[in-house]
Each structure stands twice: as structure tokens, then as C-alpha cells.
């Protein structure tokens, strides 16, 4: 049988030594990232389970808390993040064609949109610190409030903070991807890292898709 292990002349570009061929490598790498994303689903899931328990037990406190959040900023951030998912999908699309400039263009767009999202979060967080709505660190809410208001804001900071941390990590990985793209690393045959990163970025978008209504849109009917 042919010995592929040491056959360097026909070694496909980008093929790692443990794989037999590029198809096996791509299949493995995608399965690997999805396995990791499943762990992320369960990871954030713990936060959502906590939210579920306390939301059903303290609906008034949660409505009060949600009222303090700015729907416009939240909705704006949602649009920004979904748009960044589009640009990321386009970057992956370009990577299948091996179009270096196309990939770079869309990666930069994704990076900028991610940056905008994080800036808005910074604005929101600063406002909370000013208004004394950060449990444990700066907690002096005005007027009468439910004692469980701190549960809502702990979840708000915990969940959006963990999400923001994932975005920051994503931004870092984006920089790495942009550098490698500029060097011409990704071709029509070898583009798995772009696609795999895309999966991560879309996942972070999905988490926000759930965070937005659960945190920002409660009790809007009561003014």
C-alpha cells in the first residue's frame, strides 16, 4: 500500500501530519469546533438556568431591573452584532474562493462591528456604575426597590460580561486571522481556520440573540 506518511513531494498545502487527507482534516476540525461550541452552550446554559429560576420566582424585581436598561442601545447592539455575523459569513464565503482581499475586507468589517458593540457595552456599564446599579461593587439604587433587584443586576453583569469576554477573545483571534490572511495563508484548498472561527463568532452572536430579549425587553408594557 502506498506510504503517504513520508510522501512529502505530493504533500497537500496546509495538511497536518496526523491526517490522511484534506477532507479528513476539514471534517475533524469542524467537528472539533462544534464540540467546543456545545461546551459553550452548556457553559452559558448555567447562567440561563439561573436566570430561569430567579425570573420565575421574582418577576417584579426582574421587571424593575430590565426597566433600568436602555432598549435603544440594546437593540442597536443587536443589529450591530447580527451585521457582524453577516460580514463574517461573507469572509468565509470569500475564503472558499481563496480571495485574499475579499477575506481581509470582511474580517476587518467584522472586527470594527465587534469593536462598536464593545464600545456601547462600555458606555452602558459606565452608566450603571454611576447610577449605583452594580451589585457588590457600586450598589446604591435610588428609591424603593425589590430586595432581589441585585439578583437581576448580578445576572445582567454576569451574563453580558461573560459574553463581552468571549467577544474580546474573538476580537483577538480576528487580529490573528487578519494577519495570516494578509500573508496569503488561506487558499481555496486550505481555509478551515476562517470557517472554524466563523462558527465561534456566530455562536457569540446567538448568545446575544437570547440575552437581548431576556434582559432588555421585560415589562415594557408597564412603562
Amino acid at each position: 500500500m502506498a506510504d503517504h506518511a513520508h510522501d512529502h513531494e505530493h504533500h497537500p498545502y496546509g495538511l497536518a501530519h496526523q491526517f490522511e487527507d484534506t477532507a479528513q482534516q476539514k471534517e475533524s476540525v469542524l467537528l472539533g469546533m462544534w464540540s467546543f461550541l456545545i461546551t459553550e452552550v452548556l457553559f452559558f446554559g448555567g447562567y440561563f438556568a439561573t436566570y430561569l429560576v430567579y425570573r420565575t420566582q421574582y418577576p417584579i424585581a426582574f421587571t424593575e431591573g430590565s426597566y433600568q436598561l436602555d432598549v435603544k442601545l440594546g437593540a442597536f447592539n443587536t443589529v450591530v452584532l447580527i451585521l457582524s455575523s453577516l460580514t463574517m459569513a461573507m469572509a468565509v464565503h470569500e475564503s472558499h474562493k481563496g480571495n485574499k482581499n475579499g477575506i481581509l475586507r470582511y474580517l476587518i468589517a467584522t472586527f470594527i462591528l465587534g469593536g462598536v458593540f464593545l464600545c456601547v457595552k462600555y458606555v452602558e456599564y459606565s452608566a450603571k456604575f454611576e447610577h449605583g446599579l452594580v451589585p457588590g461593587l457600586a450598589w446604591h439604587p435610588h428609591g424603593e426597590h425589590s430586595p432581589q433587584l441585585a439578583l437581576f443586576f448580578s445576572l445582567y453583569f454576569g451574563m453580558t460580561g461573560m459574553h463581552a469576554l468571549h467577544m474580546i477573545i474573538g476580537a483577538g483571534l480576528l487580529i490573528w486571522l487578519m494577519v495570516k490572511t494578509a500573508r496569503g495563508t488561506y487558499t481555496a484548498e486550505y481555509n478551515a481556520p476562517v470557517e472554524v472561527f466563523g462558527l465561534y463568532w456566530h455562536f457569540v452572536d446567538i448568545v446575544w440573540i437570547f440575552l437581548f430579549p431576556l434582559l432588555y425587553l421585560l415589562g415594557k408594557t408597564h412603562g
Binding site: 469542524l30 440561563f48 455575523s85 453577516l86 440573540i209 437581548f212 430579549p213 408594557t221
Partner: protein, 107 residues
């Protein structure tokens, strides 16, 4: 394993984006309309739809192997199991308590 050959077109990506924008606007609008207990349900249905659309198209799961579908489904299934069993505890307290139970004493 043929996701490479059957990737979505740019047209599909743009339609998905438009759908997500519409659903976002919808969820914000519905939040201001009083439908009682249904507000929560509608918000979650919309969010789940958005997530599904991202997973199926942006993340190429529609064009991927059965195995990948199974992985994605399994992840969400176990998430639901976690939610269901935890909420079952809180929901069923008081249904059948032994005499002398702490729960009965605090009623």
C-alpha cells in the same frame, strides 16, 4: 461531508440577514404590546427562530453531515434537560411532602 460544495449563496446570506432584522424589530415591537404571559413565550419563539436561522445558514449546518446535526441537537437537548429537571424541582415543591417537612412548616 460535502459542505464545501453546497455552501449558501450570497443571496441566501442577505435574505437571512434581512430575516434577522425583521425578527429583531418584531421582538422589540411585541415587547411594548401587552399580551400577558404570552409576551415571554413570543419573545422566546422569536429568539429561537433567529438562533435556528443563524445555525442552519450562517453556520452551514444545513449543508453539513448528519453527524453534525446530531452533535448540535445533542448539545441543546442536554441544555433542555438541565432546565427541565431544575425547574421541575421548583415547580413541584409542595406536591407531595412528608409530614413534618420543612416546606410545609413555612407555609
Amino acid at each position: 461531508m460535502a459542505e464545501h460544495h453546497n455552501s449558501p449563496t450570497v443571496g441566501i446570506y442577505l435574505s437571512v440577514f434581512a430575516t434577522l432584522m425583521v425578527l429583531t424589530a418584531l421582538t422589540v415591537w411585541v415587547a411594548f404590546v401587552d399580551m400577558g404571559a404570552y409576551n415571554d413565550l413570543i419573545a422566546m419563539v422569536i429568539a429561537c427562530t433567529k438562533a435556528t436561522v443563524v445555525i442552519v445558514f450562517f453556520m452551514h449546518v444545513k449543508y453539513s453531515s448528519r453527524l453534525l446535526w446530531l452533535f448540535v441537537a445533542a448539545g441543546f437537548l442536554f441544555l433542555l434537560i438541565m432546565f427541565a429537571f431544575i425547574m421541575a424541582d421548583y415547580a413541584s415543591r409542595g406536591w407531595m411532602e412528608a409530614p413534618g417537612s420543612y416546606f410545609l412548616s413555612i407555609q
